[in-house]
């Protein structure tokens, strides 16, 4: 087995009696930046805390660079962490905070000062070097936390929502700084965020987490086009998930039936033989609104929302409500009868989930 920078195997973790991680598996290759993306409370911070060694898994094993560290104390793991709540040392100045890790690594003075100054420059806080954290704004504190972790150039860097408190411009600047440093030094990084765009733009791969498990860990493009289940599909914007059954097929042209007995013709090679059940996922722009026909799903226009260049419609169909975008040039009226077709190249096919 090749040695990954990080591998978490079947991790179960508890806080007291409540189980937070339910058999989490994840591996991160050397020099890779992986984002953890998931809703609040799904266990992202807990995963980082396990890697850092602040909490122990109830079962499962953790390896860093192929070495089992399940029992290794945190101060010997050499992981740089940007804490979600910053965790700056209140009794130290900004410069001392940033220089803290270098001092522990016996980096002597002229060199240490130089590296601290250079890092403060990068995060745009050079003029705040002698302030105490209590005299900084939230975003400035966050950048100190970022600088403190980046300056030690750790082999593994973990960032827990490191940019959550910054404005849009600074966020983009900082995220390219992070990416640049990580790439230049070929460091491994785990990046926690709520922001899908941020995760997709900065990462080599993205892990989607749900309720204490990783449901999919893939390159952004793969996630975006080929989600593995309904949770991920919804997460990446496939708002319309319609269960179907194949009733007839002729080469790539497949006639499928959805709930309510409505039929539609799809040109999808990916579906199985007659009788196969699957779920088709489509983003609002992956549905085509046209005149009713016998190859589309019949529906009536409901609520219309103006989105700038397009209109978004809620459409009531026998197969359930759908959300589709239509061109700005021809607004449709509420109650109008339409036919909904799936743009096959923009749709995803998911296995049927029993629930």
């Amino acid at each position: 087995m090749q040695s990954n920078a990080v591998s978490l195997n079947d991790i179960v973790a508890h806080y007291g009696n409540s189980q937070v991680l339910h058999g989490l598996n994840m591996s991160v290759a050397d020099g890779e930046l992986v984002s953890l993306l998931g809703s609040s409370g799904c266990g992202k911070t807990t995963t980082l805390r396990l890697l850092a060694g602040f909490i122990r898994p109830s079962s499962g094993s953790i390896a860093l660079s192929g070495r089992d560290v399940t029992g290794l104390p945190p101060y010997r793991r050499g992981i740089g962490i940007v804490f979600q709540n910053y965790a700056l040392f209140p009794h130290l100045t900004v410069a001392q905070n940033v220089g803290f890790g270098l001092k522990q690594r016996q980096v002597a003075e002229p060199e240490r000062g130089k590296r601290v100054a250079a890092m403060l420059e990068r995060v745009g806080l050079s003029s705040f070097a002698d302030r105490y954290p209590s005299a900084l704004s939230g975003g400035q504190r966050q950048r100190v936390a970022l600088a403190r972790a980046l300056v030690i150039d750790p082999p593994l860097l973990m960032l827990d929502e490191p940019l959550s408190n910054l404005d849009a411009k600074l966020r983009v600047d900082m995220r390219s700084e992070i990416r640049e440093l990580q790439r230049a030094n070929k460091r491994t990084a785990i990046y926690v965020t709520h922001d899908q765009e941020e995760a997709f733009s900065i990462s080599d791969r993205v892990a989607i987490m749900d309720a204490g498990r990783i449901v999919q860990l893939d390159a952004p493009e793969t996630l975006f086009t080929r989600p593995v289940n309904a949770f991920v599909a919804r997460f990446v914007g496939f708002e319309n998930l319609v269960p179907m059954i194949v009733v007839e097929r002729d080469g790539d042209r497949v006639i499928c039936e959805a709930a309510g007995g409505v039929r539609t013709t799809l040109s999808l090679a990916a579906t199985g033989p007659v009788g196969d059940r699957f779920v088709i996922g489509a983003r609002p722009e992956g549905l085509a609104i046209g005149a009713p026909s016998n190859s589309t799903i019949p529906g009536t226009i409901g609520v219309r929302t103006y989105l700038g260049r397009t209109y978004q419609y809620r459409i009531d169909t026998p197969a359930g409500p759908l959300v589709a975008n239509g061109p700005f040039s021809q607004p449709l009226q509420q109650g109008e009868a339409v036919g909904i077709g799936f743009l096959a190249d923009q749709c995803c096919i998911l296995p049927m989930e029993n629930n």
């Binding site: 101060y75 050499g78 992981i79 804490f83 965790a87 130290l92 522990q104």
Partner: protein
């Protein structure tokens, strides 16, 4: 600058409290410098001879020495135990049964007289410990609740994630405790030390049972002195004791306060 208006009732209460707190000190100082052979306030005349008298009395000086020795030892031991107890309770509080923290407060609930008497029975009579050791043991126990309570209070607002930050940056946990945790709970530790020191220095009830022939603490010595004499010496002793307390507080503030400069 705009002056904040203070409710006159609140102001009056404030001044009354101040007067109430200051009065004993003023009276004691006044009585100590009185040029009379009995305690008098307001002082009649001015004389420092009672201070001279105190400093010449061997019993006062010896008991003062005992008091200091006991107070310093008891405070140090209580600090060592209290600091770790408070830290442990704050850090691992969730995994420790709730009643455990209250154990450290128990000495507050036992009447000191009863406590002193039981110490006499066990420590001195059964274990045959020397008086000074017995005093240190007894005072350590009465100081402990203050230590644990006051330090716990300042730890309750301490953010333990900075401890994790320091550890993750490669610092050994013991060093983290000394250089990260301690400086941030400094004021609580200073308050606890001062409180414990004063508690020990002023204790009568527990010491009463433990002191024996030849070994006595200053408050006990003052106690026996006023049973026989009524001259201003006791006031002079009190003033000296206050002076010592203030010096010790300043020293504590200085030494522990230096923690801030330690990087």
């Amino acid at each position: 600058m705009q002056q904040r208006s203070v409710n006159p009732v609140v102001a009056a209460i404030g001044w009354l409290v101040m007067a109430f707190l200051m009065a004993p000190i003023v009276i004691v100082i006044g009585a100590a410098v009185s040029d009379t052979t009995y305690l008098a306030f307001p002082p009649q005349g001015f004389s420092l001879r009672w201070f001279g008298n105190v400093l010449q009395q061997r019993s006062f000086m010896a008991s003062f020495q005992t008091s200091m020795q006991v107070a310093i030892s008891a405070t140090s031991i209580a600090l060592a135990i209290g600091l770790f107890a408070a830290y442990g309770l704050a850090r691992f509080g969730k995994t420790i049964p709730a009643w455990f923290g209250s154990v450290f407060l128990l000495p507050l609930f036992v009447p000191e007289i009863v406590f002193g008497f039981s110490l006499l029975k066990t420590v001195i009579v059964s274990l045959e410990l020397p008086v000074t050791t017995a005093l240190i043991v007894g005072h350590t126990i009465i100081c402990l609740p203050y230590m644990v309570r006051v330090i716990s209070a300042s730890l309750s607002s301490f953010d333990f994630s900075i401890e994790e930050a320091a550890v993750s940056l490669g610092m050994h946990p013991i060093k983290v405790f000394l250089t990260i945790v301690l400086p941030n709970i400094r004021s609580g530790v200073i308050a606890a030390v001062v409180l414990a020191f004063i508690t020990s220095l002023n204790d009568v009830a527990v010491s009463l049972f433990l002191t024996g022939p030849g070994v006595s603490t200053l408050p006990i010595e003052v106690f026996t002195y006023v049973e026989q004499f009524f001259d201003p010496s006791v006031a002079a002793v009190s003033v000296l004791l206050m002076g010592v307390t203030i010096i010790v507080m300043a020293l504590v503030e200085r030494t522990l306060g230096l923690g801030k400069a330690v990087k």
